[in-house]
């Protein structure tokens, strides 16, 4: 039996990767994020996070993004085992 672990992006450690399972937000936020590549099923790797609830940087596909802390907390990720 595989154990999967769900976290939001701000809870992940730098270097961890997983698949996006959902974005907890309105149509606007979901749309903006999906256009930039963050949408369910995509592989996402957390690169770093800034101190004091600063932005989180991630890699999705060929794109690197910086996402504000609050937004990052709404992005749910299933960690890779």
């Amino acid at each position: 039996m595989t154990v999967t672990k769900r976290l939001n992006l701000s809870q992940m450690y730098p270097g961890q990767s997983g698949r996006v399972v959902g974005v907890d937000g309105g149509v606007g936020l979901v749309g903006r994020l999906s256009a930039l590549g963050i949408r369910p099923g995509r592989k996402i790797t957390k690169l770093s996070s800034m101190l004091m609830r600063g932005p989180v940087t991630v890699q999705v596909g060929g794109t690197r993004l910086a996402v504000g802390f609050g937004m990052a907390s709404r992005i749910l990720v299933e960690l890779e085992q």
């Binding site: 060929g62 910086a66 504000g68 609050g70």
Partner: protein
């Protein structure tokens, strides 16, 4: 960020009368559309390695076969769902166009295809420019062009816009543009389609990270990032100062001293050494010595200030800034600064307009359009116009205040920085609304070709020469005439309570404050003949930096913030400038 505030008017085609064919350049932000545009039209544009350079839109003409056509550089969008202003504008423009050139970043096929597939559903012929083709190999990506063309059903041309490669083929492919008019599909279906396309045409081979990529990662990690930022900022400052001072000492000062001084002395003799015309043209020339800073003639100070004091710093500032822009460092600085900038009611991206403001406040305030909310734009524009000194003013501060010792220059900068932080903090509390969170793409580092760096530098320097020189000469002329008719004595007496009482400056300094409205560099120069103490010079420089913006900045403030916003900003400016000036006067 999916939306950039974009203000523009979309021209509707005039009813019935068919004018030039319209070619629309469309694509995601920061894929090189503007560079493709400049290649197609020959119009020189400023492009930078961060999203959102094209605010408003640019259009130009090009030749397709024998026919002339109009090319429009549409603001970058990630999709066509009208979820924000930029995308709405893109959609409206789409309705007026005849052909679309969809510019795609070849290194980022998957994300870019989202817009491409949406465009293919529209009834408009299209070709695809697969830009940044040279980067594909470096990144271990292989793209099957033939297969991509088959799957999309439109011509696909690989291009490298910065070097011009593939542009000729792109133009030749325009007549072959096709509109496959795919049936509209849902979001999820589209992403599935994109997944299947990329799987079929793209192969990514694993390869070791290059040093550039290691640096990319290190510059957005908290610890290494801050060290890198410190190194970059100190290096930037030293670089600008070194280049600027070298140009002054080894090029421009000698030119004035050995070539221009004899001409001035000859003219002075010719005009009899005194008189109104002599004073207006040459100013005070004492005992055959030309003091370019204090004489204040049109042909002495009027030329020396722009060419020998300001121009060297304009050149060095924009050279270094252009390098930082094109390498792609600035968005990383935005990420690092985000936490701090939020305390000032802004998000990290506001650091880009702020840095631009250290060159000139006008493009800086225009660049605040990359911020999403009206509140952020107001705070950013107000902070820039009050506490961010432009290169012209800074050059004069270095030139004049620097003579009294570097500690006085530090006082000017320190005060402005404190004002920037405190005022931002206060505005964040006072101005209603909230500031949205950061969401930006971090571009890869690129080593910019020298040609594009120098071309951009030339555009900006040319802008300075073209716009500033006439105003500087005009300001010196107007001032000399008003002096001659005794106009300033009246004003000086009238404003003496504020200028002398509050700021502790001689009453004649009001002339400098008034001229500051035209040009800040000339205004600082006018403090030179007043025999101020070092403390007074610091007060004068700080007040001039913060007080009313120069007329060009004033006009863009009015345009960007509206009348009410501009009046609010101006009121804040006057209050802050006078209280900080008064406070400094008490301390120093």
């Amino acid at each position: 960020m999916a939306c950039h505030g974009v203000k523009t008017n979309v021209r509707k085609r005039r009813g019935g009368k068919r004018d030039l064919r319209k070619i629309l350049l469309m694509g995601n932000p920061n894929v090189g559309k503007s560079v493709v545009f400049s290649r197609l039209t020959g119009v020189r544009v400023i492009a930078s390695n961060y999203p959102g350079t094209t605010v408003g839109y640019t259009h130009g003409l090009m030749k397709v076969g024998e026919e002339m056509a109009e090319v429009i550089d549409v603001p970058g969008t990630y999709g066509l769902e009208p979820s924000c202003e930029a995308e709405e504008i893109a959609l409206q423009m789409l309705a007026t166009g005849d052909v679309v050139i969809n510019v795609i970043d070849a290194t980022n096929l998957e994300r870019n295809l989202n817009l491409t597939l949406q465009l293919l559903e529209k009834d408009i012929p299209m070709v695809v420019a697969l830009n940044m083709w040279d980067d594909v190999g470096h990144r271990g990506i292989h793209i099957d062009l033939k297969r991509l063309e088959e799957l999309l059903g439109v011509p696909v041309i690989p291009t490298v816009a910065v070097s011009g490669q593939g542009i000729k083929e792109l133009v030749e492919s325009i007549p072959a543009a096709r509109a496959p008019r795919r049936p509209p599909i849902s979001h999820d279906e589209r992403w599935a389609a994109i997944g299947s396309i990329t799987e079929q045409v793209q192969q990514v081979t694993h390869r070791h990270h290059t040093w550039l990529e290691r640096l990319e990662d290190a510059s957005v990690r908290p610890f290494t990032g801050i060290i890198i930022a410190a190194v970059v900022l100190v290096g930037t400052f030293l670089g600008i100062r070194f280049i600027g001072e070298s140009l002054i000492t080894y090029v421009l000062d000698p030119i004035f001293e050995y070539l221009w001084t004899p001409v001035v002395l000859f003219l002075s003799n010719l005009l009899g050494g005194s008189g109104i015309l002599h004073d207006i043209l040459l100013g005070n020339i004492v005992a055959g010595e030309v003091n370019y800073i204090e004489s204040f003639g049109l042909l002495t100070t009027g030329l020396y200030v722009p060419f020998a004091m300001v121009l060297p710093y304009i050149v060095s500032f924009y050279l270094v800034l252009g390098l930082l822009e094109d390498i792609g460092y600035l968005p990383r600085l935005a990420v690092l600064m985000d936490t701090i900038m939020h305390r000032l009611g802004l998000h990290g991206y506001a650091i880009i307009p702020t840095l631009l403001g250290l060159g000139c406040n006008v493009p800086a305030i225009l660049a605040t359009r990359i911020l999403e909310s009206k509140r952020e734009r107001f705070i950013a524009a107000t902070l820039i116009s009050i506490a961010v000194p432009c290169a012209a003013l800074q050059a004069m501060v270095f030139g004049l205040v620097g003579q009294r010792g570097i500690q006085y220059v530090a006082m000017v900068y320190g005060t402005l920085f404190v004002v920037w932080v405190v005022l931002g903090f206060v505005l964040n509390r006072v101005v209603k609304g909230f500031s949205p969170e950061l969401l930006i793409e971090i571009p890869p580092y690129r080593i910019p070709p020298w040609r594009t760096v120098l071309q951009k530098l030339w555009l900006r320097v040319h802008g300075f020469l073209h716009e500033a020189i006439p105003i500087i000469l005009g300001a010196v002329l107007v001032m000399n005439i008003l002096y001659a008719v005794g106009f300033f004595d009246v004003i000086a007496d009238f404003t003496a309570p504020v200028v002398t009482g509050l700021l502790g400056l001689p009453k004649e300094a009001v002339v400098a404050l008034a001229i500051g409205f035209l040009r800040k560099d000339v205004a600082i120069g006018m403090l030179a003949p007043l025999a101020l103490t070092s403390g007074q010079l610091v007060v004068g420089s700080v007040v001039l930096a913060m007080f009313f913006p120069c007329i060009a900045t004033f006009v863009v403030l009015l345009r960007e913030l509206g009348t009410t916003g501009m009046l609010k900003a101006a009121a804040i400016m006057i209050v802050v400038a006078l209280s900080v000036g008064g406070l400094l006067n008490l301390i120093l």
